[in-house]
Amino acid sequence: MLTLTEGATQFTVLDYFDESLRRAGRLLLETGPILELLMADGHVLSQAAKRSGQFVADLQEGQVKHALADLSPLRSLLPIGSGNLRKGTLALLDDDQKTHCRANLYMLSDTGGAGVILITLHGLRGYDKSLAALRAQIRDCDGTALSSGGLYANLFPKHVAYNAKPKVIIESDATTYQAASDIISTYLSVARANEGGIRADCDSEFLHDYRIAMRKIRSVLSLFKGVYEQDQTIDLKARFVDLMAPTGRLRDLDVYLQEKQRFYDLLPQTLYSGLDTMFGMFSEERNREKTKLTDHLHSIKYADEISSLAKLFAKRKKLRSGPTAALKVDGYACNLIWKRYRKICKIGGAIAPEMPDVEVHALRIHCKKLRYLMEFFSPLFAKPEFKDLLRPLKHLQDNLGLFNDYSIQQISLQDFLRQANDWANDTKLHVAQSVGALTAVLHLRQIEERAKIVDSFALFNSLQTQSTFRELFHDGRPKS
């Protein structure tokens, strides 16, 4: 028995840029004053759509906000597309008119794509067979799970799905030239996909993803030694450095502002006024940096540069080969990973709580490079062993990363104080007190983190890890 509601209402699908909701099998619909969240298990939650901004934190208190609490607080909800919605219910009855199961229907249309019917099934206890039969029938009609991604693609054909870590397919008989160029080309697309979000200042993760993509490209240029002609490699490195340069300060400020609460938590209330002043200045500086970066991304110079680079790595006519360009990528990958791993072991062999900062930084850089290499080449290797290696590496990197953050933050706070000449005297005093206290706390944290590095290195350097590294990468051929 089918029951349809009268008339249609306008709907907008909301999701994060990386489609966190869709990937988790959920769908968020805004229909007039109501937000409806369809959960993966078919439950529907709703609440008022009124909100003070586009972040989950900006929603009014309610079921939907509560259910979205597992999402990253750094991303904003963006409209994926709009159309008309008509609802209905379908009840499966037997000859006694007894309901065996129900289905809620969401008929979504007028979106420029094909109309889509979204069905949530609700079984009644003791009628499992009928539920299974209805589910099978929906499958027979080419029905797919929400999480498979078909919904957005069918409804909004112009919508482009975003993936910050797309899989780059590397065949084992590919050359280093092909592999490096494929990786760079892919990450250029990732970077460019974020330009719109940075310009619109939707959330800080657009710039973050943009920078990571660019950094990966730069690491390919430096790690794949000799794959391109030397002069061209130098030139390319410089061009990517130039592209990233206008983004650095804005990213630093984003991180400060995200961690604002953490800084307040570190200090007693008596020192808050200095922090208020400092964060006020950061906020103003962020606005200026944001305008600068937006102008940069809008400029013809930028557009020309980025499309010329994209063309270079896509067409590859003017991309000149270097001495290692023709090597088979699988053996080359093993070599690179093995050598980098050995460098880490060498530093790690002398690791101790009192080791100098420069050594820790060197270890961090090597680990980062190893991680990039392993991620780039992961398609070439067997998955389970690879994951076993990545887990302790990630853990070690987390410690190293925190150690580095504490160190960088102390330096940049000192830099910040150097601007103090232009400030009023009482401002100077308040800020200097707070920054001084902060520096002391950060220094303490840094020492604590250094002690943890020794332990996480030991975990990373276990006999098991050593033998897996040797087995997978030592003789220069991947075993997959």
């Binding site: 006694d96 008119q97 007894k98 079984g123 009644l124 206890r125 003791g126 009628y127």
Partner: protein
Amino acid sequence: MKIIACYSNKGGVGKTATSVNLAYAFAAAGKRILLCDLDPQGASSFYFRVKPSKKLTEASFFEDVEKFTKAIRGSDYDNLDVLPANMGFRDFDVFLSRMRDSRSRLKKALAAVKGDYDVILLDCPPNISALSENVFRAADAILVPVIPTTLSHRTFEQLVDFFKENDLPLKKLHGFYCMVQGVKSLHSETIDAMNHVYQKWFMTAQIPFASDIERMGLHRAPVMASAPNSLASKAYQALYQEVIKRVAGV
């Protein structure tokens, strides 16, 4: 979880209509309820359009938890499930004690779907003499529909005597008048006479004799669902309100 039995040692007094509508009222108020149709005729299952389970005719099925839980059917109403028992009563006492024991497999299996039931409502067949004592001991409350006639007066008297003889707590008894016809002087006289003796065991809500209730067989739905504004519905709602007041913790 509370166990409420709807029982009368006399047939045709509106016991099943009461069970069906009370179950509906509990569910509508958001309580998860399992209505156990213990009547061999399966009348409450019929009202909810649930087919009697052939598998459950074996008297010893309570020993098989899986069989038991598989026989439970969701009704067309939220929170309301039906167990179309259609069975003998050899193991009825075992069934009731296991339902109470939180460690029993039966209790755990029952809870599997949406968490515990708040109420188990037993629609008992008349004359369960051999096991009535067990039902009376296990249930938190026994609802007894009484048609205000001389004969019913006598059967209620017998029930009270039975409780006294077997040392059962009389406070579990909650009588109410059913199929009441205001125009019949016999009805009002009997009510007056019975109230004189049994008032403390009787609820004030009365279920009128109504064609809407008779038509339940036609609609195959609780009258509270098919004719929510009828006098009969309002009477059942009043009865429900009184039950939740009298049975603590429901």
